[in-house]
């Protein structure tokens, strides 16, 4: 079996070459480095249900998939344009299988491919990734992208500067090697274009669920549990925190979602220098300026701001789809509901009404 070089200088196999990069194309995996205790990030895909939908869609195609946590591409805001390259391999050779989930869909020469439906990847294909409603999506390939590992995985840890691909998001010219798949046309063997399972023209992509519901003027519901420091807020401040309809600020990213709105009136002790303590995905911090921040996968492992709430259940994942300008409000929830909600979402079940 041959693995392609991640720097693209020699092509031993078939790869996806980046013609044009999206706003933040990141190679992500659920295989954790387990390094939060050492100052690494949690990293990984933010919309885990969408990531796993891609894994499930491709699960029949690579018999080795069960033994590997795949590395897929997370796309945010705008997607890349990719061409399928295979040096010395005839055009039309089927190189693999891909799928797009989340808020994006793929467009091939023949037209758009329905979100969630796997499509063959053929040498010479030009794949345009387009965003629909929502913010993030995943391009999965059967077997995952074949890249060298650093500290055990190939996934990106942006704050630490760890690969996927040189510790940064993708740039034009980057090459993402595909693992050669048995039976789909190994590198060097020519295959004519096989039967084409897609694309279904006119079939629109499915809309990602906004956090907690459709939103509207009251903002999307973001279910929360009390944070360790909630009791330090005055009752007035607590009411303001839960009663305000917050707006997602453009200064939001994988480190955290900054919220704009009437700052929560603080007391002098909110400015006190708290000893830093561990953060979790979905921690809602209240800095001295009174504008909450919801922490994401690239947050620092330690933080010194007040932790007033913690986003619950699968809402920690649904938040990854919220765009600047969208609104949300915090809704108290119970832990029991949260655990069930998370389980349902990760298994791809329909989301029930919830609290």
């Amino acid at each position: 079996m041959s693995e392609a070089m991640s720097d693209g200088s020699r092509l031993f196999a078939i790869c996806l070459r980046v013609e044009r990069s999206g706003a933040q194309d990141l190679l992500v995996t659920e295989a954790s480095r387990r390094g939060l205790r050492y100052g690494l990030s949690e990293a990984g895909p933010w919309d885990v249900p969408a990531f796993r939908a891609a894994v499930r869609a491709l699960s029949g195609a690579d018999p080795r998939a069960e033994s590997r946590e795949p590395v897929f591409l997370e796309m945010t805001v705008s997607g890349p344009v990719l061409t399928v390259e295979g040096e010395g391999i005839p055009l039309g050779t089927v190189a693999g299988l891909a799928v797009v989930t989340g808020a994006f869909h793929a467009e091939l020469q023949g037209g758009p491919v329905r979100q969630g439906v796997p499509f063959p990847v053929q040498v010479g294909d030009r794949i345009v990734l387009r965003r629909d409603l929502g913010l993030r999506g995943y391009l999965g390939v059967a077997g995952g992208f074949a890249l060298p590992t650093v500290l055990g995985t190939s996934g990106a840890d942006l704050p630490a500067g760890l690969p996927g691909l040189a510790g940064r998001s993708l740039a034009a010219g980057d090459r993402l090697p595909l693992r050669p798949l048995p039976g789909l046309g190994d590198a060097g063997q020519s295959r004519t274009r096989g039967p084409d399972p897609g694309p279904e023209a006119g079939a629109g992509p499915s809309l990602p669920a906004a956090a907690g519901g459709s939103g509207g003027s009251g903002g999307a519901r973001c279910r929360v549990l009390p944070g360790p420091h909630l009791g330090r807020l005055s009752r007035l401040a607590r009411r303001a925190l839960l009663g305000t309809v917050w707006t997602v600020s453009p200064q939001s990213n994988r480190v955290g979602i900054r919220l704009a709105g009437e700052p929560v009136a603080d007391r002098p002790d909110l400015r006190a220098d708290l000893p830093s303590e561990p953060t979790v995905l979905g921690t809602v911090q209240l800095p001295p300026d009174g504008s909450p921040i919801i922490l994401g996968p690239d947050r620092g492992s330690l933080g010194g701001y007040l932790k007033v709430l913690t986003v619950a259940g699968a809402d920690v994942y649904r938040l990854s789809q919220m765009r600047p300008g969208e609104r949300l409000r915090f809704v108290p929830a119970g832990r029991s509901w949260a655990v069930s909600d998370r389980e349902r979402a990760l298994h791809g079940d329909e989301e029930p009404a919830g609290p």
Partner: protein, 265 residues
């Protein structure tokens, strides 16, 4: 708990284990006696031991993603697929309570991280790591200021910094960046009013009653005493645990080395 067991340690740490969100367990500790807060020496030791004990206990538990330590809280993060976690919560609670009692039962002199165990026993907490440091001059631009604030000579400050064995109670902000304590009370060090935009990699720093090392160039508000060539995080290693030099729970001793060379293990 008899009064005798407390010795000069002060109040016994009282631990609380609570869910933080639906898949993290936060153990925090405070003093049972508001008149006698948990001494820093105890807190540092407890944080280090608790995180080590939890990591060991959950080493093969697939639902535990990580255990992150800090001065006043240790958090057990569960994986995305973790269930209700009742059994895990029970185990965390038991370990937290048991360790609180053990910390209390130690002879008072051993609880102060400033003294090595005179019986030649290996501390249960962790490895001892020696860090050679070039003190002062261009490597330690704040040594003179710390000396002045402490009312001592620069040489005396170096002695105070190197004579203690510190406990690492947290690693974070940058991969491999250790937080150590407690600093000798004779060392008066503060946070800078304006942090430096860039602190050189390997800078050995102090602030309040903590000391630490900046692994990579980064902004920094602590006072710089010196610099080491030792690598705190080696990305060429096979995994994060091997990459990180100082783990929470490890003990660190600084050694004044004019050459700054890495000493043999």
């Amino acid at each position: 708990m008899s009064a005798g067991a407390r010795g000069r340690l002060g109040a016994m740490p009282v631990t609380r284990t609570r869910w933080e969100g639906d898949r993290a367990l936060r153990v925090s500790w405070g003093a049972s006696d508001p008149e006698a807060p948990v001494p820093l020496a105890i807190a540092v030791r407890y944080a280090a031991r608790l995180s080590g004990a939890l990591l060991e206990s959950f080493r093969d538990e697939p639902q535990v993603l990580d255990v992150v330590a800090s001065l006043e809280a240790v958090t057990v993060l569960l994986t995305a697929d973790a269930g209700r976690g009742g059994a895990i919560a029970g185990r965390v609670r038991r370990i937290a309570r048991t360790l609180a009692e053990t910390v209390q039962e130690e002879p008072s002199w051993a609880a102060d991280a400033g003294f090595e165990n005179g019986r030649g026993e290996v501390d249960r907490v962790g490895r001892l790591i020696r860090i050679p440091v070039r003190y002062g001059g261009v490597d330690g631009p704040d040594l003179a200021d710390v000396a002045e604030r402490s009312g001592r000579s620069e040489a005396a400050v170096v002695l105070l910094h190197t004579q203690r064995v510190y406990i690492c109670f947290a690693v974070g902000f940058r991969p491999g960046m250790p937080f150590l304590g407690p600093l000798d009370e004779g060392l008066v060090a503060r946070r800078l009013d304006r942090p430096r935009l860039e602190v050189p990699a390997g800078s050995v720093a102090v602030a309040g009653r903590q000391t630490g090392i900046y692994p990579v160039p980064s902004p920094g508000g602590w006072q710089l005493l010196g610099r080491t060539e030792v690598s705190l995080f080696d990305m060429s290693r096979p995994d994060a645990s091997a990459a990180c030099l100082v783990h929470p729970g490890d003990r660190v001793r600084f050694e004044a080395d004019p050459e700054g060379a890495v000493l043999p293990a």
